[in-house]
């Protein structure tokens, strides 16, 4: 479980995040949704320490992240997996080396154990026998899956995904979403997914935070989203006239 409490963030003289609090639950996909520029990525970056908020608290299972020393943060990060928008695979390494990398760095596993773990993770994302390919040889969807395999290799307790299906076709998007949901439930991971994709909201939105211009505007589940009467959220969900007409009354 990760809790954020009363987070504020200003870039220059523009406040981007206003007093946002939310609880991210274990074993669930916790979605942060909102229009482009509403501050979703900024919240994620604050949670993993790439950006520091001015005020507020970030608690990882009760441990105060913001007051940790660099060493303590590095220690915690060994239990964090992150799926970047572009995958962020290491170009100079094969898929297998990419997946093994965190194991090399942080475990004392033998060569065979590492290889076994890599094969397990690659298989889990349907990339078995692709061990020796380089990232440049993969399609967008494969890159995302490979990046997911890499973030899973160390058995993360926390998983962060920034727009996991941006730039993918609808079918591949659903495959990625389903994978994220499955591993989240299977390994009881506290997963945060940043998205503005309605398919994801409906498909995996078990716990949703809706951001509007940097403020928490609404929270709830995918079932509640469809029946909300929050005006801004409605506009976001039913972006098109067509959908608005289909809205359940």
């Amino acid at each position: 479980m990760i809790e954020i409490k009363n987070i504020n963030k200003t870039f220059g003289d523009r406040q981007i995040i206003f007093d946002v609090s939310f609880t991210f639950l274990p074993g669930k996909c916790n979605l942060v949704i909102g229009e482009s520029g509403s501050g979703k990525t900024t919240i994620m970056k604050m949670m993993v320490g790439l950006v520091t908020p001015e005020t507020g608290e970030i608690l990882y299972d009760g441990a105060d992240f913001l007051s940790m020393t660099l060493r303590e943060k590095q220690e915690l990060r060994k239990s964090i997996g992150m799926l970047f928008q572009g995958g962020a695979l290491f170009d100079s390494q094969t898929l297998e080396e990419n997946v093994i990398f965190p194991l090399d760095m942080f475990t004392d596993m033998s060569k065979e154990e590492k290889l076994e773990r890599a094969n397990f993770c690659l298989k889990r994302v349907n990339l078995e026998n692709k061990n020796k390919l380089f990232p440049s040889e993969l399609s967008g969807g494969m890159k995302k899956r490979a990046a997911l395999a890499r973030s899973l290799s160390i058995n993360p307790k926390y998983l962060f995904c920034d727009e996991p299906n941006s730039g993918l076709d609808p079918r591949t998007s659903i495959v990625i979403d389903e994978l994220i949901k499955e591993v989240t439930e299977e390994f009881n991971i506290t997963t945060m997914v940043v998205t503005h994709d309605m398919n994801s909201v409906i498909g995996i939105g078990h716990n949703i935070l809706y951001l509007y211009k940097g403020k928490k505007w609404w929270e709830g589940t995918n079932k509640q989203v469809l029946r909300t009467d929050n005006k801004e959220l409605l506009d976001f969900v039913y972006a098109s006239e067509f959908l608005r007409e289909l809205r359940p009354k």
Binding site: V48, E75, I80, F84
Partner: protein, 250 residues
């Protein structure tokens, strides 16, 4: 790279170096990286260095012979002069400048690309000290391998001088060999290798700095790479002057 004053650049460079030389997470991984860098930075440049050294050695010999027309200068001075030019200046400084172009732009664009494609963020999120992981092996690898490259360059330069000198009739084989054996000062080698080690450190650390603080897109990566070559060259030339003053002028 945003607009920063010289002092801010120096401060940020010092902070980056400080982060670079902190305790590695896993020694074995770093050792493996160091060997990779030795291979790609050092061995990968061997061909280029060999060709340049042989040709430059040849040209230095021919030019010396062309200039030493006075009957009071013995012809073995051609060999002697070639040896000294190559050991004191050509191999350590000119070859380092060439390496600043080849290796420097390579490092800046490699690290810059990793920055803009979030690979550096990915390392940080994993809990890896990205500065140490990416930069330390390059610095250590080059500081280790550059002196060997420069010694090879010296050897090939003097060999090139011999082959060209004899082939063009600029001096005889006997005179050239007599020349390169005369008045040898071992300290000059120490001076040359000291410069080399300093230049190796400059090339890798300055280029890494430019790559590490890239942001934007492919265009900025290109700019960082160009900038690193320019800065490297200027810093090498100034350092060359300072080290020469300190070590050779008494």
């Amino acid at each position: 790279m945003e607009k920063l004053g010289l002092i801010s650049h120096l401060g940020r460079y010092a902070m980056l170096l400080n982060r670079t030389f902190s305790k590695p997470e896993k020694l074995s991984v770093y050792m493996r990286q160091i060997f990779r860098e030795i291979d790609s930075l050092g061995i990968g440049s061997l061909g280029l260095i060999a060709i340049i050294s042989i040709f430059m050695g040849g040209v230095i010999t021919i030019q010396s012979a062309y200039n030493f027309t006075s009957p009071f200068i013995p012809l073995y001075a051609v060999g002697l002069g070639t040896r000294e030019s190559i050991i004191l200046e050509f191999s350590p400084t000119i070859v380092s400048l060439i390496m600043a172009g080849k290796v420097g732009s390579n490092i800046a664009s490699e690290i810059g690309t990793m920055r803009i494609s979030e690979q550096i963020d990915a390392l940080e999120i994993m809990g890896v000290n990205s500065a140490a992981y990416l930069i330390m092996p390059k610095i250590i690898g080059s500081v280790f391998i550059f002196p060997f490259l420069i010694i090879i360059s010296m050897f090939l330069g003097i060999l090139g001088g011999y082959v060209m000198g004899v082939a063009t009739g600029a001096c005889s084989s006997y005179e050239y060999i007599f020349g390169i054996q005369s008045f040898f000062v071992p300290f000059n080698i120490a001076y040359a290798l000291t410069k080399t080690v300093i230049f190796a450190f400059i090339i890798t650390s300055v280029s890494s700095y430019h790559g590490y603080y890239t942001h934007g897109g492919a265009l900025e990566v290109g700019k960082a790479s160009t900038k690193s070559v320019v800065y490297n060259s200027i810093i090498i030339l100034i350092t060359n002057l300072v080290v020469t003053k300190l070590m050779l002028v008494h």
